[in-house]
C-alpha cells in the first residue's frame, strides 16, 4: 500500500463491523473511517523506522514457558452455567437456530 493511496474505505469499516457483529449508526461509519485512517497513518510512520536490530516479538511481557500441570480442578455446576445463559433448556444453552 502506498502512502498516497486512501488506506481505508467506508466499505472496509462496514465489512469489519459486520465481521465483529457491531452495528454502526448515523455518522459512526464516517467517524471510524477517519479514526482508522489516522491510526494506519501512524503505523506507516512507524514503518519508516529502522528495526533491523530489533527482535520480532508477539508479546510484550518478558515471560515465556508458563505451563500448568495436567491436573483436574473442579468445574462449575451445571446450574451455575445456566445462570449466565440468556436462554436455556434441559442443561443446554439455547440460542436462535443456526443452520449448517
Amino acid at each position: 500500500m502506498t502512502k498516497s493511496q486512501k488506506s481505508i474505505t467506508k466499505e472496509d469499516v462496514q465489512y469489519i463491523a459486520s465481521l465483529s457483529r457491531i452495528h454502526l449508526q448515523g455518522d459512526e461509519v464516517e467517524r471510524l473511517t477517519k479514526d482508522l485512517e489516522d491510526i494506519l497513518r501512524y503505523v506507516h510512520k512507524l514503518e519508516k523506522l529502522d528495526v533491523r536490530a530489533v527482535e520480532a516479538t508477539s508479546h510484550v511481557l518478558p515471560l515465556a514457558n508458563v505451563y500448568r500441570e495436567d491436573e483436574v480442578r473442579p468445574s462449575l455446576a451445571q446450574a451455575e452455567v445456566m445462570k449466565v445463559a440468556v436462554m436455556s433448556h434441559n442443561g443446554f444453552l439455547k440460542v436462535p437456530k443456526v443452520i449448517q
Binding site: H59, R68, V81, G91, L93, K94, K97
Partner: protein, 487 residues
Amino acid sequence: MNQPLGQKYETVIGLEVHLQLSTRTKIFCGCANVFGRDPNTQTCPVCLGLPGTLPVLNKMALEYALKIAMALNCQINPLIKFDRKNYYYPDLPKGYQISQYDKPVAYDGHVWMTTVDGQTRKINIKRAHLEEDAGKLIHDDRSNSSLVDYNRTGTPLVEIVSEPDLRSPQEVYDYLQALKLTLEYLHVSDCDMEKGSLRCDANVSIRGAGQKIFGTKTELKNMNSFKAVRTALEFEEKRQREVVSSGGRIIQETRLWSEEKGTTVTMRSKEEAHDYRYFPEPDLVPFDIDDALIEEVRRSIPELPRQKFERFVGEYGLSEYDARIIVADQHIAHFFEACTKLYVDTKKISNWLNGPLLQELNVRKMGFSDIKIKPEDFIAIIRKVDENVLSNLTAKETLKQVLDTGKDVAAVIRDAGLAQVSDSSALEGIVDELIREHQNVVGQIREGKASAIGFLVGQAMRKSQGKANPKMIGEIIQRKLSAKSDA
C-alpha cells in the same frame, strides 16, 4: 464413469485431520477432558471465556503434540506461540478459537503408507499445530433453536495438515489407516472417529492429466468414518469431473457429506470468505521448545508401527503379509512378542495367531484388547499339538473354550475330553468299522491309489470328533490293508 474421462483428469486431495488428545484435563484450564457427561457439567470460567480469566497451557498437551510431531518426522519450531482465530458461532463462547498461525508446533514432516497393491508411498505433512476444540451444537427443528453443550470446549486438539499429495479416495483411506496406526502407538488419543476424537476434512480438486497448476478445490466435511471419507471423495471427484467435462466451473466452497443421501451438498457460508483475522493471543506467552524438552519427549516415543514391521520381518522371519497383520494392532503385536519369549517357532505362532485366534475374535466381534487368553495358554495349546495330544481340530476347539471360559488349557482338555486318542485298540476298532463301511475305497487303496487313504483318515477324524491321532490311524489302515492283501 467411463474410461477416457478417468484418464483425462487427475484428482488432488489434501487432508486436515483433527485429533483430540487424551490428556486428563483441557488445554487451557483444569476441567476434566471426558466424553459423554451431562451437558455443561465440565466447564469453568476459562473455557466459557468469561471476562477476566486467563488460559494457561497444559504441559501434557504440548508434550503429546511434540510426540506426534516427532512420529510424523516433522521439523519442530524452536519457539511456538498461539493466535486467535476470530469467528462467531454459538459453539465458540469467546468469539475466537485459540489456535496457532505462523509458529505452529511442527512443519515439514511425512508419513509412510502402504497402498492396497503393496506399494510404499511417502505423504508429506505440511504442519501440525495445537488448538482448542469448540463446543457441541444440537439443532432442534421443533423449537427452531440450537442447543449448546460446552463440555467439549477447550479439549486439546492437534490438527495435522497433509500436503496435497494424495491422488485417489483409496489412497486417502490408506493414508488415514497409516496415520491412525502411528497415532495409536503413541497413546496420545483414542483415535475413535465415531466418538469424534479423530475427525477429517478433505480438500479436493481435479486437474487435467499432466497439468501442473491445481484446480479450484472444494472442502468436504462431515464424514464420520474412514469408509465415509472414501465414499464422499469418490462422489466428489465424480461430481467435479462431470461439472468440468460438461464445460462448467468448480466453485470454491465447503460441501457437507450426507451419509443418507450419498451425496455432498453445499454448506451455507457461515462466515464471509473465512476471514479469520488471526492475531497473536495476548493471554498466552510464547514457548521455547528447547533441546532438553525435545530429548525428554523423544525418550517417551515407543517403537512405531513401521519400525516394528521391519523388525518382525527381519528378527522373526515373518512374511510381510503376516507382519503387517500383527503390527496393525499394537495389542496383537505385544501378544505376539510375548509368545516369542515362550516358543521358538515364530512362524507357527504367527500362523495360529493370524489364523484361528483372529478368526475366533472376528466371530465374537471382539477386539484383541478385550480377550482373556494369556500368551502362556496360547503357547500351551500349540505345544499340545506338537505333542500329539491335540489335533488341529481339537486345538481350535480348546482355543474356543479357553476364550469362552477363561479356564486353563489343561482343564479345558480334560473337562471336554479333547485329548487325542492314541490308544491303539480304540483306533483299530474305528479302522475296522471304516473298512466295513467303505469297501470301494478299500478297493481303490489296494489298487495303489494312495490318496484314498487320506479319505479314510478324514472319516476316522470325523467318527472320533477330531480326537483320533491321524498319524496312527494312517499307519493302522496301511497295516490292516496290506496284511489282508498278503493273506
